[in-house]
Symmetry: C2
Subunit: 112 residues, 2 copies
Amino acid sequence: MTKQAASKTRSVRGSRSSRPIMALLDLLGRRWSLRILWELRDAPLTSRALRSACDEASPTVLQTRLTELREAGFIELGEGGGYGLTPLGRELCEMVLPLHRFAERWHGKTNA
Amino acid sequence: MTKQAASKTRSVRGSRSSRPIMALLDLLGRRWSLRILWELRDAPLTSRALRSACDEASPTVLQTRLTELREAGFIELGEGGGYGLTPLGRELCEMVLPLHRFAERWHGKTNA
DNA sequence: GCGTTATGCTACGGTAAGTGTAGCAACGGA
DNA sequence: TCCGTTGCTACACTTACCGTAGCATAACGC
């Protein structure tokens, strides 16, 4: 993993591609990333509440994802504590929401 | 979180939740899942071509993801070889496509 | 002051997941 | 027959993630 000073690609691990979509796909393809966005869809949550919402996932990874998503500008830590979506993050979340309905139909097809 | 006869949830690892959205989020949150859907957006690809498209990712994981996505009913192995999207998979892919434009704008904001 | 509770965040040992290289059997064309 | 391609797998190694515990800080009631 040669790390020759990639200004933005630095945190994108596997995909050395510079295409933004690859970076985004890689970021969202890490554990709990999509789930975090999903759980924050309604209201901000504290780190502890978020952990509970995410099936008591390990705080180590959660904290890592939170930092990554924060650096990406999708979420932010509010004044009085608690993580919430930024305007940009909300846009992204809007693209994840329709997955809900799809998942319901998918579930009906696969084991019915 | 009762797992009353999880006939489909069996392969969902971390999230013991029975909610389909959680299962979907978990499946898509595994490495290369989103990328595979993305690379198959236009036309079917052979396993080798898909590997090349996915930045020469390890064939071990790729094969694992391919199997998972196939069991989920999102992709299928065509007659004359090559992986392609199923109608269901195409629907899912349609939700991933708008991420492209978003990623472009995102990239512009984060390092400009 | 003291203790309690909650915040965001981190250390550390163990397990699971992903990587990289090599190679398999099966099929088809020259 | 040899060659190239297909989908797929074995194996050792590295990395990511899990689970538990704990830190420093801050806000409360007493």
